[in-house]
């Protein structure tokens, strides 16, 4: 009988001691803020397009850390969704309305039609449009994230979303696609 009592008392004491240690550690090693939000935000593509329903990538990251679904980012595509799933420890869900390889696009303003209303400048979340009232506007292609937010506000509908061209610098070296040469490469029709 005494052995049982001893065992119980000892175990209880042990539990108390470890509990104190854990509590102390929880206080001392507490991490300020929620680092997961920064990690989530670093995974998102930073187009600040709002297609997820949040005004920017950071608000969406914060929402995800509070349990928001991870499949709401079309520009990030499936790759980003899987990374988010991994970070949050949830199952990956397919991103609605996104193709296999989302084509990167940039906005291009047809300058002859621009009336200088600055609506697109106000709409652009990353200030990638250069222009002023009554002056022609133009998109700085290097800064454009292809978020599509400028197309709607334009009253003369002069903005096109143009896919980014592959050139020698960003070619993906996948030789498989070259076997059937697309027509534009073969210049045999040209006179010289």
């Amino acid at each position: 009988m005494t052995t049982i009592i001893t065992a119980v008392v000892l175990l209880t004491l042990l539990a108390l001691v470890f509990g104190v240690i854990l509590g102390f550690a929880a206080q001392k090693f507490k991490v300020e803020g929620n680092p997961i939000v920064d990690q989530l935000e670093a995974t998102l593509p930073q187009t600040q397009c709002g297609q997820c329903g949040y005004p920017g990538c950071r608000p969406y990251a914060e929402a995800i850390s509070n349990g928001e679904k991870i499949n709401r980012c079309p520009p990030g595509g499936t790759a980003t969704m899987e990374k988010l799933a991994e970070l949050m420890g949830v199952d990956p869900e397919p991103v609605a309305a996104v193709e296999e390889e989302p084509v990167k696009k940039v906005a291009v303003i047809r300058e002859e039609e621009c009336i200088g209303c600055t609506k697109c400048i106000q709409a652009c979340p990353v200030d990638a449009i250069l222009g002023s009232g009554k002056m022609m506007h133009t998109v700085i292609a290097a800064d454009c994230t292809g978020c599509d937010l400028c197309v709607e506000p334009c009253p003369v509908d002069c903005i096109d979303m143009v896919p980014v061209q592959t050139d020698l610098r960003n070619w993906d070296w996948k030789l498989k696609g070259l076997e059937t040469i697309p027509v534009k490469f073969v210049e045999e029709e040209k006179s010289c």
Partner: protein, 893 residues
Amino acid sequence: MLTNLEQLDNGVVWRIPGGIHPPEQKHLSNQTAIGTLPLDEYYYVPVPQVGEQASMAVAVGDHVLKGQPLTHGLNQHHLPVHAPTSGVIKAIEPRPSNHASGLPVNTCVIQADGKDSWVDLQSASLETLSNDDIVARVQAAGVAGMGGAAFPSHIKLSPASDIELVIINAVECEPYITSDDRLMREHADKIISGMEIIHQVLTPQRIIVGIEDNKPEAADALRKALSASKLPAGVARVTVVPTKYPSGGEKQLIQLLTGKEVPSGAIPAQLGILVHNVGTCAAISDAVLQGKPLIERVVTVTGGNVAQPGNYWMPIGTRVDHVLKCCGFNPEADQKVIIGGPMMGYTLPLIQVPVIKGTNCVLVPSSAEMSVDAKELSCIRCTECAQACPASLLPQQLYWHSKSGDYDKASDYNLRDCIECGCCSYVCPSDIPLVEYFRVAKSAIRNANEEKLKSERAKQKFEAKQARLEEEKRQREAKAKEAAERRQSNMSGGDKDAIAAALARVQAKKAVSAATPEAGADRKDKVADAVARAKARKAAQAAQSDSPAPEQNQANDAQKDKVAAAIARAKARKAAMQSDNEAEVDTNQTSAASSQKDKVAAAIARAKAKKEALKQALQAEAPTDSDNKSADEAADTLEPKADDRQARIAAAVARAKAKKAAAKDAGVNDPKGQIPEQNSVDSIAQSDPGELSAEEAKKARVAAAVAKAKAKKAAQQAGDSKSTVEDTQAESAEPKPEVELTAEEAKKARVAAAIAKAKAKKAAQQAGEGQGSDAHMQKQPADVNSAEPDSNSEPADVKPEAEPSAEEAKKARVAAAIAKAKAKKAARQDGEAQRPDNAAPLNDERSEAMSPDTDQSEQAPAQSAEEIKKARIAAAIAKAKAKKAAKDAEDKE
């Protein structure tokens, strides 16, 4: 910094790990002296730096001499290119590049005139040149690394650190290639002269020429030339290294000759070592001593399927197909054309590409010479690849991780140190194309890093923008508060009461209309608009009538007027929005026509209110007059055409918005209903409380009539009774013919019309869920085409009036926009009716979009070039829009 000089002087050679011994096959091409090829008719000179670091120095149609620079640039990175022969610049445009992808690069096409006449060259002697002169001459000659990498040599000749050892790379370890071999045998003195120049610029302690032991004749030739050279004794020597692939790689050669390793990510200059190819040395000599630019190089043509293999001097820009033709190319089925050697060369997808500065070999092997295309088997982890790797990597691990897309792990295993020599793939018993996986992984990593940088930047800009908006808002609020306080302190009791009353009325109205969003709301809507109008006027008047004479009160009045105007505007806007909302709610109970009518009325009211408000503001600024009538005139004729313009534009835009809302809720099956609406809007835009010149008015009327006619036609086809309603609308909105309008205002009217049309287009798009029947489809093209004569008659009418061409251009634009919209509508209908078939609607759209263009250009040949251009632009845009419309229609499915 330097290894034991003694060891260097004794020719001690270290070892490199790994390496392979593929069959050399050099005998195919090194038996004959370097030849030349006949001149080609066209030469393609790529000008990739143009637009970023350089600009073209010649234009299409210029005549150039051999050696004339084609580009010029300002900074150190610019590498000039020169004309390889004399001739005429035929074109400067993208052409397929000499690259594994065949992607286009900006190319200067020169049509040779056969005379091959040189530009004047300026020779110099080494004693007279300073180091800067030498480097400048090397840059001006466009000398680049001829070993294959084509790095600008002038940058290498001005390194940041001291150079103690210069290594001349004569190794040429790759099988089949013998261009350096023959060059050394025949032009050793030029190479040595290049070494002298390098010695003068960099003053290294030693210059070592590394050469493989399979080139004994070349080594002898170099030694002989060295002994006769002006270099100080003991500075330069020829060191023979054992034949092994890839001894010729820069990093491997350094390790062979000095036992040192270049740190990962660094350049040899940081070790005090510089490596130059023998061909580059010869080119440097030509450039500095003779002023000859780099316009030709020795290229090996070899392989089993060419009749005359050997080495040839080739002008930079010679097309590969010309080269092969001259050397007797017999292609077989599944022929490969490889630029470079069999280990590191790439296959060309097409041979109409030029020889460039780094091209050292054109290899056309027979299938017996190259390995059979074997299927990739699974890796048996034999690690022969790791044994063969000269960089001591683990290709197997890189393979696992590259294949699975785990690029982080692959980078962890030092993927970036891979020199892509191909030793691993060469030895693999499972025929795994290792290097191909590594290249794909490397480019994916590079692109991912760029993406990351871009998103960092986007995030920063986003945050900066947020901060700026916050700041602006805060400042605005502070200012408003300050202004309010000032106003409060300056206002008399009566003013306060009036404004308070106005505010109270606004609140009341809001409460009332918010409480009744139902059927009768249309009436309320109208009432509300009227009330708003009245209030605005009253408020403005109250503000105005209360203004006392003194100056400070004048300022206050101006402020008050502005406030009143703002309130009126806000009210009007709110009224408009409410009418929009209520109209959307009202699908069942109001017919589309009546809601449209209401909207139109609301829009008119809004515009009028705005104008009133502005007028009041103007009045306040006018010196003495408090008479509304004269204020009207003053307002209309005074400076603020801008305000007027703004008002009109705003009105048009607002109207378009209303239309959009109406279209949305109407969910109209008959998109043609848009046309009459659009035309009525046009006419309204033109009938805005402004004045039109006689001609303008006439044109506007013509346009309106045309639109009406179209509307009638369309409505008839649609069988919609609505058309009568719209017609009456259009009629009621006839512009007043008598008033005067300046050119400016007319222009603004046009702009407004354009905007309105764009809005209509958008609205039409959104309403396009309806099914276009076949009848519509058939009729639509006819409609568009039949509409053409009408719209084209407009510009034709304009000309006799001798208006400035800018006006005509604007008209053309308007007409084009109308045509655009129609084309788009037609295309959308087509797109929806033929959902599975994507090609046909596009073709139809294109043909329809083209027809306005062709019709316009046919029927008005005397139009100014500007107009034609604008019309064509419009047509092209219509094309694009039509495509987009079709795509959107598809997306909606």
